[in-house]
């Protein structure tokens, strides 16, 4: 019986993957609710968008690809900017900061008035950071984490420039609030021109979508486009441990007066990877001279997600937040060419994610705690931006899985604030190998207490413990390699926006000291300085900002 149910589930999985897309096509009318503020996840907090935890994790946080130690990935994951707002913390960051609470000031006056009563404006938002640093030995400051998500004091340079058109289509005849926004977010990362002298840039379009809200139901938002799509992050790790998708698709979000939020989404991702795509040279038809490239294997991954969030108010401004989350991943079967005229059947593949987030927030000064649990299987275990590797014998990702347990918290009181984040993660590829460098267990804990000498000046220290175990034997000793690293840093800073872990902009001076053990050194290839050195220094300056970016 159980097997029959599983078989049925497998058959309908591809259908379910697209079902969410269709869900919102049937436009339903709901009661109207005002749009929540951009920032925190707590709808009760009108104000200040909770500072985006800027954070910025790789767009994908693919299980291994973001690991700087992954030999297939250049050190430094592709940045994923903080989507918009504060989410970060996941916690409803109710930061009271008045300035932040104010609605974003229009950059321009309304330009067009297509309908009576219509107002619209162009807006600009940004997240960014820059970290000039050295290693105390004459070399550049370099990200030294041995886990996928470690301290971000030694992060690379990154910035997003968000250009947004916001319109309010409410008319006197129909007072139902109807708004729309067109969001285009340009992201830039290393190498920077002023570092290399090479007049070039690494650019990406991180957002390009339209969202319309209020049609049919005041709490209903529909969007279509290319979009970062994510929930709460762990700022200290630059990571969204529960939900972080980057697709070309569309979705719907419904916010109800009961402080319930429901969101569905479906999109596609087609990586330039042999698992999904192959273009081969073929002669031109009709005896034309030359050749062209033909995509003979092209199977986008369809990803659909569902998110349900409920706030349970407690006394005062505090509350409990519970989030249930799921994803379905599917790719169709196809045929690719292994060598000329030798073809390989690639079966359809899929996976899923099931996750839960439980949080509590004080509703004041961004104090919160969030706990995350996430289980991913099959295709989903590799993340949306990572093509499966080390496949199972049937050339699928079946059997791959990842378990994440993570925590983030922030406490603020008087001149003190403390940020903390940590996680435990276990990932296994689909290959049934006992030994594989790609099979990883890892954990990290970062704590960052701040002390503010004045409203604008403070210092924080940060301690990090990282450990990672990989399913390979350490130098023939018959035990899995397990590298460990301890890192301690201090950073005096200036915070013009005032006190608070999430207040930005911020300018810092940083000193970070790290110690790695012998196993950790063995993660690096021969002649990599990190393979030889047990200690690291990171001395530099840093700046970080965020303002007025879209969040959800």
């Amino acid at each position: 019986m159980l097997r029959a149910v599983l078989r049925l589930a497998c058959r309908v999985r591809p259908l379910l993957a697209t079902a969410f897309t269709l869900t919102w096509l049937g436009g339903v009318a709901f009661a109207q609710t005002p749009a929540p503020p951009p920032g925190g996840s707590d709808p009760s907090q009108n104000g200040p968008p909770a500072p985006p935890p800027g954070s910025v994790v790789g767009p994908t946080t693919p299980p291994l690809q973001t690991n700087p130690l992954d030999p297939r990935t250049p050190v430094g994951p592709p940045e994923a900017p903080p989507a918009a707002g504060p989410p970060g913390s996941g916690a409803p960051a109710p930061a009271p900061a008045p300035p932040a609470a104010a609605p974003p000031a229009p950059v321009n006056q309304p330009i067009v008035k297509p309908t009576p009563g219509h107002t619209g404006q162009f807006e600009f938002g940004s997240y960014g950071r820059a970290t000039p640093a050295l290693d105390g030995r004459g070399g550049p400051g370099r990200n030294a984490d041995i886990v996928a998500f470690g301290t971000r004091l030694d992060e690379d340079n990154y910035a997003e420039l968000e250009f947004r058109r916001a319109d309010d289509w409410t008319t006197e005849k129909d007072p139902t609030p109807i708004t729309s926004r067109i969001v285009a977010t340009l992201a830039v990362t290393d190498p920077l021109f002023h570092y290399t002298g090479k007049f070039d840039a690494t650019l990406a379009l991180r957002n390009l979508f339209i969202e319309e809200k209020g049609i049919g139901h005041p709490g209903l938002a529909l969007w279509v486009g290319s979009r970062m799509y994510r929930g709460d992050d762990i700022y200290l790790l630059n990571w969204w441990p529960l939900d972080n998708l980057n697709t070309l698709g569309g979705g719907a979000r419904l916010e109800l007066p009961s402080r319930t939020k429901l969101a569905v989404h479906a999109g596609v991702v087609r990586l330039d990877d042999p698992f999904q795509y192959q273009a081969v040279a073929r002669p031109l038809p009709y005896n034309q001279l030359g050749a062209t490239r033909v995509a003979i294997f092209d199977r986008p991954r369809v990803i659909s997600s569902f998110r349900a969030e409920q706030i349970f108010p407690l006394e005062g401004t505090a509350g409990i937040k519970v989030v249930g989350y799921g994803e379905l991943h599917h790719v169709a079967k196809g045929v690719r060419e292994r060598e000329p005229a030798v073809y390989e059947q690639m079966p359809s593949d899929g996976g899923f994610v099931a996750g839960l987030q439980v949080g509590a927030f004080a509703g004041q000064r961004d104090t919160f705690v969030n706990l995350f649990f996430r289980y991913a299987r099959g295709l989903a275990a590799y993340g949306d931006f990572t093509a499966p590797y080390e496949l199972a014998d049937d050339r699928t990702s079946s059997g791959a899985h990842e378990v994440r347990v993570a925590m983030s918290a922030n406490w603020e009181g008087g001149p003190f604030t403390v940020l903390a984040g940590g996680y435990v993660r276990s990932f296994r590829t689909a290959a049934p190998n006992d030994l594989s460098f790609q099979n990883v267990d890892e954990a990290a804990l970062v704590v960052r207490p701040h002390y503010y000498f004045t409203d604008k000046v403070g210092v924080f220290v940060e301690g990090t413990a990282e450990t990672q175990q990989r399913a390979v034997l350490f130098e023939g000793q018959g035990r899995p390699v397990q590298g460990t690293m301890f890192r301690a840093g201090v950073a005096p800073f200036l915070s013009p926006a005032g006190k608070g872990s999430y207040r930005r902009p911020q300018i810092r001076a940083i000193y970070l000291f790290s110690v790695r053990d012998r196993d950790a050194r063995s993660f690096y290839p021969a002649d990599d300085p990190f393979a030889r050195r047990s200690t690291e220094h990171f001395v530099g300056l840093s700046c970080e900002w965020w303002f007025n970016s879209s969040y959800l």
Partner: protein, 617 residues
């Protein structure tokens, strides 16, 4: 009607007639019926042209052209030939032999397939030269001017389509086996380094063998290359996509070995086709007969004749003739290239061998023996003219003396293709050749038995060395027709046409010599051309037609048809008055047909009865 609808509707109305114009273009379809355009191939004068190098008529197909590099495409095409048909008629040639038209490997090891001998698809035209319409139009226009067109074909090999995976690592390698020092270290003679390229390994009668450091490992796998950019893609006809359709024995290195020449790959990695297989023969016959049906060629020039077994030619020639005859084309001329000084071997492709006579063979071959023994040895290097007679005497032993059944109208002995140089050898003027010697050789070729064949550029005094230096671009000449050598060739053509006995007549050698020095007859060669009875019976030639050709290959002095007391005798009665069609002095035949003719160095005379003289040539 709303105004905003007017414009789209007007546009649609304007476009409608244009859509209907996309019909079949002129020359877009194969000829409804083939025609036989040649009555007697002995009257033809062939002009060999390398399409890529003659004239660039269309810009659109100038893809990957690198005109500065001799081994790359230079841009010539069929439209270019069409644009210069008047040039050919001015020169007096009657048949164009164009380089292969089929689609080729684009490039290999830095060399392009501009010459056309690296076939990849026998069913498609080489787009560097144009499309089917361009080819059909060029040939139709040539036919309108009385020109015939002969297609160059290759059945022996295809292009570099696969490699032998000798070390079985799945990639083409150049291997070095042995250090060269092993035996030296052990006190013995050194073993030479064995150099193996998997594209073109040396012949092995067993088939190319795989080997590793531990020794041989059985037949080397054949790996077809797939690279659309260089057009190394699956071959057509489809049967040639099978490895068993090739001999797979590696590159010939001993040309005296019949096994190697017939089973080995042609140098350059050109893969030898297993032409003994019925499936392959079917494909070859169909592919090339189809070209005639599609485009209306008048003959085949067949490449690498001696690299294919005789039985194939017996089968191929018969079936092609039968198929084309059924479509209305007879007297289809097939002549082959047996690049060999061995005239017995060359002739065997017309008649077979003593052990295995051929019922059907080619109509003719390139007269390589004559190129080496006469044009080079006598006219270029001033050897004795007795060479010419000796070779002439062998002709009727070496070649078939009757027409091929269903083939060209004359016996191979009458249809040998005489040439001074071609695309595979250095030009006559390269190194020791002189313009005087060249014109004298041309004089002999145009008056001698067989079909004259001019390699493009000879008339413009091209002097390139061996391939590819002998494949010069033609366009720098400006296609001028006023050059002295051009005019010389054109005049010889006019003479040959005005005196049919020069093309149809039997040869009677009247004087030759071993002397090459200061002697009286040094360099003299004299021969009569007299009508064959069958031609007279067929009213192809007058019974009294006659020409006495005297040529002097000597560069230093005039010579005569006499030495000491010996004087040349002719078949003419005493008192016959002869005049020189070339404008020289006239002669009267003496007693017993005796005649002493004197000609200047590197020159000749065509003596005809005064009554037969054609003025104005």
């Amino acid at each position: 009607m709303k105004r905003h609808l007017v414009r789209p509707l007007a546009l649609a109305a304007a476009l409608a007639p244009m859509a209907s114009c996309m019909g079949t273009p002129e020359y877009g379809e194969r000829p409804a019926r083939l025609e036989t355009r040649v009555s007697d191939w002995r009257d033809e004068i062939i002009y060999q042209v390398l399409v890529d190098r003659f004239a660039n008529g269309e810009y659109v197909n100038d893809v990957n052209v690198r005109a500065g590099d001799p081994s790359r495409y230079h841009g010539g095409d069929w439209k270019g030939l069409e644009d210069h048909l008047d040039y050919f008629t001015a020169l007096g040639v009657t048949t164009l032999w164009i380089s292969p038209v089929v689609k080729n490997i684009e490039t290999d090891a830095g060399f392009d397939g501009y010459h056309g001998y690296w076939a990849q698809d026998l069913t498609q035209p080489n787009p560097h030269f144009g499309d089917m319409v361009a080819l059909r139009r060029m040939i139709a226009k040539a036919h309108e001017r009385g020109l015939r067109v002969v297609l160059d074909i290759v059945t022996n090999h295809m292009g570099q389509l696969f490699y032998y995976d000798v070390n079985m690592n799945g990639q083409p390698d150049i291997l070095f086996q042995e250090s060269g020092n092993k035996q030296r270290v052990n006190g013995g003679a050194p073993i030479p380094v064995r150099h193996v390229t998997e594209y073109d390994p040396d012949f092995d009668i067993r088939g190319i063998q795989a080997f590793t450091s531990l020794g041989e490992a059985g037949p080397a796998p054949v790996k077809f290359i797939y690279d659309p950019v260089s057009n190394k893609v699956p071959v057509f006809p489809e049967v040639l996509q099978n490895d068993w359709a090739y001999h797979r024995r590696g590159r010939v290195y001993d040309y005296d070995s019949v096994a190697q020449t017939e089973l080995g790959d042609f140098p350059g990695g050109l893969k030898d086709v297993a032409t003994e297989l019925p499936e392959v023969r079917d494909a070859m016959v169909d592919a090339y007969a189809r070209w005639v049906e599609e485009v209306d060629f008048d003959g085949f020039r067949i490449d690498t004749l001696k690299h294919v077994e005789h039985d194939f030619w017996n089968d191929f020639c018969r079936r092609v003739r039968e198929r084309l005859a059924a479509r209305g084309k007879t007297n289809f001329f097939m002549f082959g290239e047996s690049f060999d000084g061995d005239d017995v071997r060359n002739g065997s492709y017309t008649k077979g061998t003593a052990e295995r006579p051929l019922e059907h063979g080619v109509d003719s071959v390139f007269y390589f023996a004559q190129k080496f023994q006469v044009f080079d040895a006598v006219f270029k290097y001033k050897g004795p003219t007795r060479n010419i007679s000796r070779l002439r005497e062998q002709r009727f032993e070496n070649y078939r003396t009757t027409p091929q059944p269903g083939g060209a109208n004359a016996a191979p002995t009458r249809l040998l293709v005489n040439f001074i140089d071609n695309h595979d050898v250095a030009r006559f003027l390269f190194q020791d050749g002189t313009v005087g010697a060249l014109r004298n050789a041309l004089f002999f070729m145009y008056t001698w038995d067989g079909l004259p064949c001019i390699y493009y550029g000879t008339e413009q005094e091209f002097s390139g060395g061996n391939d590819p230096a002998n494949r010069e671009d033609f366009w720098p000449t400006g296609y001028r027709t006023d050059g002295e050598t051009f005019q010389w060739v054109a005049r010889l053509a006019r003479l040959r046409k005005a005196y049919p006995v020069l093309s149809k007549g039997e040869v009677v050698v009247r004087w030759d010599t071993e002397r090459t020095g200061p002697e009286q007859d040094a360099g003299i060669f004299a021969f009569e051309r007299v009508p064959l009875p069958e031609d007279v019976a067929a009213n192809a030639i007058a019974q009294d037609a006659y020409a006495l050709v005297v040529v002097n290959s000597n560069r230093d002095h005039e010579s005569s048809t006499a030495f000491g007391t010996a004087v040349m005798t002719t078949g003419l009665p005493e008192g016959t008055a002869l005049v020189d069609a070339m404008g020289g002095p006239g002669y009267t035949v003496g007693p017993g047909g005796s005649l002493t003719v004197t000609v200047g160095p590197e020159s000749g005379a065509i003596l005809v009865p005064q009554a037969q003289l054609v003025q104005g040539l």
